[in-house]
């Protein structure tokens, strides 16, 4: 193969020029970032961001089509620049994938460069903008004139263009609030991650009831001298049930009886109680080389001290199980008088008048007895656009998959 050395900037441009251009753009981004003294980019809100995005789309598509045959535009919509921009996005994301992403109060060079908030930094924004331009121009050539065999290309590239641009541009219109509510109260004040002062929301939530279901409690051996939990022989989590056995070096434990909801009785023997007040109790037989005895142990609750069994300087304790599910029974109301009753649960959000409500958390110290529920309230007007992009990419994927290898058998 004869290698013809191309001089710098000799048409047609390829990788060298693309790499240089990309590097200069990223560096320029960092310079703007520092000049803005570390403050990231501020995106305008609706409708201005939508207008700006439409202008960008029209500009990119028309540039692509009008100057189809010029070297500069051919290069700008070509794969070499695309690859360099993909690499730039990858490198910036790599920074974000290694350095913890969170606001830092301290002034330092990495903070000034925005490395701790790379995804809202200027260099990232500049790269994404160029990426959209590059992708959009290459798209314009396949869109017009339309040919059915380009459908897969269009679905992938237009889908990604829409999803990426709407996610980025729409981030300013994303509203996320945490609303803390006590049982029997209503609240319309929401807190954001960034600020301490709550904001008035256009909806209010009344909490009828909060309930939490736990997995069975666990059996553990505690060493108070070293403040350590001892690993049992099977190295497994020991869920307490009637018949559960466990062994540590020299200590054997058998669960004789298990009451998931009980309260201490008068004679010291726990009695079954209702779900709301009862706590787990277990009767255990403990066998050590020297002794054998039986005892009741319990997990305790905010109202009741836990019961542990003491043996040879260790404590056999029962830990409450981890949460299995938790839900809030609420009534949601907006200012126009719309009202709905709902059960909020993790993974089962509820939509209401353009808002989406999520069961987020509760008072973890109180656990099952929490009287507080944290509800996250989210408004994201750009979501349908982003999902449209997602579904286009998936449609492209299915087409790609289904076309299979047949028509590609001759690659080289």
């Amino acid at each position: 193969m004869v290698v013809v050395r191309r001089r710098w900037f000799q048409a047609p441009w390829e990788f060298r020029e693309s790499a240089l251009f990309t590097a200069v753009s990223v560096i320029a981004g960092f310079i703007i970032q520092v000049a803005a003294s570390g403050r990231g980019i501020a995106m305008p809100h609706l409708p201005f961001n939508a207008i700006a995005l439409s202008v960008l789309a029209v500009l990119v598509l028309s540039t692509g089509l009008a100057f189809k045959n010029t070297h500069a535009v051919k290069w700008f919509g070509g794969i070499p620049l695309g690859l360099c921009l993909i690499l730039a996005i990858a490198l910036l994301s790599l920074i974000g994938g290694i350095i913890p992403q969170q606001p830092v109060a301290k002034e330092s060079l990495p903070v000034l460069l925005g490395l701790n908030q790379i995804f809202s930094s200027w260099p990232f924004a500049v790269t994404v903008l160029l990426f959209l331009a590059n992708l959009g121009i290459s798209l314009s050539w396949k869109l017009i004139p339309f040919k059915p065999q380009n459908l897969q290309f269009i679905l992938f590239h237009a889908g990604f263009w829409i999803a990426l641009s709407c996610a980025v541009v729409g981030s300013s219109d994303l509203q996320r609030f945490v609303v803390p509510i006590n049982v029997g109260k209503a609240n319309n004040l929401g807190y954001t991650m960034e600020s301490e002062t709550p904001q008035h929301l256009p909806l209010s939530i009344y909490l009828h009831d909060f309930s939490l279901e736990e997995y069975p409690p666990q059996l553990l051996l505690y060493d108070p001298h070293n403040d350590k939990l001892m690993m049992n022989k099977a190295q497994a989590i020991l869920e307490v049930r009637t018949g559960t056995t466990a062994s540590w070096q020299g200590i054997e434990v058998l669960v004789l009886d298990y009451l998931p909801y009980a309260l201490p009785g008068k004679d010291g023997v726990p009695q079954s109680a209702d779900r709301k007040t009862g706590i787990p109790f277990a009767k255990v037989r403990i066998i050590t080389p020297s002794t054998q005895r039986e005892a009741w142990i319990s997990t305790g609750s905010p109202m009741l001290k836990p019961d542990a069994a003491q043996l040879d300087g260790f404590y056999l304790i029962m830990m409450p199980g981890t949460p299995k599910s938790f839900r809030s029974a609420v009534t949601i109301q907006d200012e126009q008088g719309h009202e709905t009753n709902a059960n909020l649960e993790v993974n089962h959000p509820v939509s209401f008048m353009g808002w989406k409500l999520y069961q987020m958390g509760y008072d973890e110290k109180a656990g099952r007895w929490s009287k507080l529920s944290l509800i996250e309230v989210i408004h994201d007007p750009w979501l349908p656009a982003v999902y449209l992009g997602f579904f286009m990419i998936m449609a492209g994927n299915i087409l790609f998959f289904w076309n299979g290898i047949k028509r590609r058998e001759v690659v080289k």
Partner: protein, 265 residues
Amino acid sequence: MIMNFNTAAELAIVCWAIGSLLSLLANRTPALKLPAFLLSIAGALVMAGFIAFYWSALDRPPLRTLGETRLWYAALIPLVGFLVEYRWKIGGLKYYCMALATFLLSINMLHPEVFDKTLMPALQSPWFIPHVVVYLVGYVLLAASSVTALHNVYLQLRKQENSTGESVSHFLALLGFVFLSFGLIFGALWAKEAWGHYWTWDPKETWAFLSWLAYLGYLHAFRYKIDKSKLQWYLALAFVVLLVCWFGVNYLPSAQNSVHTYTQS
């Protein structure tokens, strides 16, 4: 319940083992092709049937524990494998998939307590299974692509002509990319339901995005005039990014505030 599980799992594994054996023999005796295929499918159907039965016995979708999620993987991964093999004529993928499913079922048989090991509420979602199945199949394909590419590099260094090898690694990467894209999007759709937003640049998400970009870069480099034999190096190394995404993320400084670093066995 565990008893029934062992019977079902053993039956499925036997189906896969005999199916694989017959399909290897079918290279010489084409008449065995059909029984081999039917047996291999039967293994996945046994697991699907068990899930249906278990579901009605539990009165809820079996999606609460780690052991239960593995049932789904074991039924779906071979099915996806057959589908891929059928459309893409990738010989051998089904063996990987059946082996992977056997491995997952064996974990459940050796550690019956995984049926007690519970999933936190956020993981109890219908998106969890497709998300993981698609990712596991994608990883299998991309691992195979990397191994093929490494072999191609070795042959290149020994100056041997090998263009079939290069198209095999290419097709595997192409197809693996399709699965990574699905995995990424399923993950985003699930995150919206569980955590309120589809993308938060959580370290695990960032690394999943990076691995996707690595293969996106490959696809476009391949489409451009880049020496195909040089790209074998790229493919061989791209899998390293995937490994970081899978295992390495927990050890990076950024992992301290990740929602994905629940440790699971």
